[in-house]
């Protein structure tokens, strides 16, 4: 569903857009300060699981939307992996027509309330904004506005269900109900397919549920988006592990003609330092899954989790930030990030790092674990770390950390969360020996349509990228849906 560039121009030339542009002078628009997202107070929020960001009021949203000058050549769209018509949704906010704004979002993004919260806008649409590129000023708060429009629609009770083409009764399967899978499901339903989503866990939503904590993305929001897909005719099945519960060939026999594999992250990586398997050392996946998906910290749920007073989280990505802030909320007195590089190289979003610092998270940058120690019961109680210094940039472009000889020292810890990335989930590649995978175990695809070496199997998200973001998985989902549609038109329908 690639968008014709003329479409943006035609929309921009509509009477209502012209009138809005004329309503306020550009000089006036650019003189305004960017809106600041209202937040829970750091000392309050680090003790509860409620959302940190509170969302813009109608007045704040309209005021911010007026900063957008509705550029003739809107560069922001080029930064968006799903090509949202950004100026149009913003101008609808300026016009006070918030429901229409949400509809524009949903033309190309089936999860706007999610993206408005967790997308790294500062390196995508917002970095391409006129304000940043030409005026050296803070960008229009596109992410905040996206969240506003999506939240407004959700609470209005008038949720727009995108139109779907007439049912063609062709069955397609989606493996995984995370952001990539949900996006592809929405698009394929729009094309008229009979879409079924297979989820391995007992809950739908993938990383949006088990991974991202409630304080960044409330589960209700994900559920509303999933309900909306149901209204579009998408069906869901849980506890279904494709490759185990049924093979691809079983499902083909049941009438499925093509699949999108969005099975997500797999085995958590560890660092292979001595003592890493002591009790109280978790992968970030396990720690977050226990707390987010299984509600382990709540008394009335059966799943347990260990609580720590002195918690060390190893890593500097968004998942590390989620883990360290979760530990703080669960009562840690010291909640520390241990990262081998410096703030400059840290892969987490700036907003998350800032929020973490405000909440009292300690950053032990330029440090790396070398050994763990345990008490007589095997529970971790101390770790040895080594100081690092930065050398020349490595292949990733970030400066390489170099251990400083003789700089080791001990830190008391009673809980450690290792958040140094994941390897692709081996389940599907193992079940399909003829599927081409890279040396890292990710599925090889044609980047134009996400098609794998097996023509009827498409793939995207972490199983292809090895570890990326929600929005990149969604972009893959869109591309794969288009690719599958094309493939089915060319091959299956001919028969």
């Amino acid at each position: 569903m690639a968008i014709n560039p003329d479409y943006f121009k035609e929309e921009r030339n509509k009477e209502w857009r012209i009138q809005l542009r004329q309503g306020i002078k550009n000089k006036e628009r650019v003189s305004r300060e960017r809106i600041k997202m209202p937040e829970q107070d750091p000392d309050v929020r680090n003790k509860n699981s409620k959302e940190v960001n509170l969302g813009l009021s109608e007045k704040q949203a309209v005021t911010e939307s007026q900063r957008c000058i509705d550029c003739p050549d809107p560069t922001c769209i080029t930064g968006c992996p799903v090509e949202i018509n950004i100026p149009e949704f913003i101008k609808y906010i300026e016009a006070g027509d918030f429901l229409s704004s949400a509809r524009v979002l949903k033309q190309t993004n089936s999860l706007p309330a999610v993206c408005g919260r967790v997308c790294p806008q500062e390196v995508q649409c917002e970095v391409q904004c006129f304000y940043v590129k030409k005026m050296n000023k803070p960008a229009v708060a596109i992410g905040h506005l996206e969240r506003f429009a999506a939240d407004y629609e959700r609470s209005s009770g008038k949720i727009f269900v995108p139109e779907t083409a007439e049912k063609n009764n062709i069955k397609v399967g989606i493996i995984g109900s995370g952001p990539g899978g949900l996006t592809a499901a929405g698009d394929l339903a729009k094309y008229g397919y009979d879409v079924k989503v297979f989820e391995a866990l007992h809950e739908l939503g993938g990383v949006l549920k088990y991974g991202i904590p409630e304080f960044r993305l409330p589960n209700d929001i994900v559920d509303v988006e999933i309900d909306n897909l149901r209204k579009m005719g998408v069906s869901f099945v849980t506890n279904f592990i494709v490759g185990k519960t049924a093979s691809f060939s079983d499902l083909k026999k049941e009438g499925f003609v093509a699949f999108f594999v969005a099975s997500g992250a797999g085995l958590p990586r560890f660092m292979n330092v001595p003592g890493e398997n002591y009790v109280g050392i978790f992968s970030a996946n396990e720690y977050l899954t226990r707390v987010n998906l299984m509600n382990a910290a709540k008394q009335d749920f059966d799943t347990p989790v260990l609580f720590g007073k002195k918690v060390a989280v190893i890593g500097g990505g968004n998942t590390a930030m989620d883990s360290v802030r979760t530990a703080k909320r669960l009562g840690a007195e010291r909640s520390m990030i241990i990262y081998r590089r410096s703030f400059e190289e840290m892969p987490a979003r700036i907003e998350e790092i800032k929020h973490a610092e405000e909440e009292g998270i300690e950053f032990l940058n330029l440090n790396s674990p070398v050994e763990y120690y345990a008490d007589k019961n095997g529970r971790v109680n101390r770790m040895k770390v080594q100081k690092m210094k930065l050398g020349e940039p490595d292949k990733s472009g970030r400066r390489r950390p170099i251990p400083v000889e003789g700089s080791e020292y001990d830190i008391d810890v009673d809980l450690v969360v290792v958040s140094v990335g994941v390897s692709p989930n081996p389940l599907i590649p193992k079940s399909l020996p003829e599927l081409k995978v890279t040396k890292w175990g990710t599925i090889e695809v044609n980047p134009d349509n996400m098609q794998s070496s097996i023509p009827y199997i498409f793939a995207g998200g972490d199983i292809v990228r090895g570890g990326a973001t929600v929005i990149l998985a969604m972009g893959d989902g869109r591309k794969a849906a288009a690719g599958m549609h094309d493939y089915i038109l060319k091959t299956v329908k001919k028969k």
Partner: protein, 274 residues
């Protein structure tokens, strides 16, 4: 929801449930396990499949009440449903004709051993089976085991049935009188540890099926990691069966006890509610 079509009570603490799960019944092989969760607030736990009947679309699980979750599942009756059953997971047992196989099961470990005994026999092996439990009422599935075993030895801790003594004594007896080519031992971690130490002494290849703590069971969380031959392995995707001589059982035992205190408190609280 997965309906319980039959229930058999083996003893106060051990029950057998036959569950309607047609897809799993069709796909499962000896050695596979499922993840089971009951209730919206339930915990996900791994249970090895004891038997399956693809024509009826059912799988059989044997459950021993040891904590809140197992107790909740064991209390369910015929006609009730289990909220979630996912699988079959893990690598199936490698079944081949090696000659003589010694299959040792301890406690509820006897249940997952049954399909292996059956498969080993059908592959043409001579199968020597040792079943061990604390007391007579905990010796389960003996009749089914007999169907596929050339010889069967029963051991109880208290001598209430079979011979008095530990599983390792029964195993050693067999090893001394027969040339054993392979051992498969399934039971509590401590039993598998000592079974492996014994077979190491006689240099007999030994497979054990590990029962580590899991959350997702599909290779995502790493809760089940265990050191095998000095390397970290994931029981859910690399296992559950490993070379018993290479497994770090002390680490496994320590990791299995990770929530001992929390579980004890939760179980006491739970028992007050029923």
């Amino acid at each position: 929801m997965y309906r319980i079509v039959d229930k058999e009570i083996f003893s106060d603490n051990v029950v057998k449930l036959e569950i309607h799960a047609p897809r799993i019944a069709k796909k499962r092989k000896a050695g596979h396990f499922v993840i089971v969760k009951t209730g919206d607030k339930g915990e996900r736990i791994p249970l090895t499949i004891a038997q399956a009947d693809p024509s009826k679309g059912t799988i059989t699980l044997v459950i021993q009440k040891v904590g809140v979750t197992s107790h909740k599942i064991a209390r369910l009756n015929k006609g009730d449903s289990i909220t979630d059953v996912a699988g079959p997971l893990g690598q199936a047992t490698h079944i081949e004709n090696v000659g003589t196989v010694l299959c040792a099961g301890g406690g509820v470990g006897i249940a997952p051993l049954l399909p292996i005994v059956e498969a080993m026999k059908k592959k043409g092996n001579k199968v020597m089976t040792v079943l061990a439990a604390r007391s007579k009422d905990l010796v389960i599935l003996e009749d089914q085991m007999k169907l596929f075993s050339d010889e069967i030895v029963v051991m109880t801790d208290d001598g209430s049935y079979g011979n008095k003594g530990l599983v390792t004594q029964g195993m050693e007896e067999v090893i001394k009188k027969t040339k054993v080519d392979q051992v498969i031992a399934i039971g509590p971690a401590i039993m598998m540890k000592y079974a492996s130490l014994l077979t190491k002494k006689y240099n007999i290849p030994t497979l054990v099926s590990l029962n580590s703590i899991m959350v997702d069971g599909t290779g995502m969380c790493g809760a089940c990691r265990v050191s095998v031959g000095g390397e970290t392995k994931f029981v859910c995707v690399d296992g559950p069966e490993f070379d018993g001589h290479e497994v770090d059982f002390d680490e496994l035992l320590s990791r299995l006890g990770a929530y001992k205190e929390e579980e004890a408190v939760a179980y006491q609280n739970y028992l007050k509610t029923i």
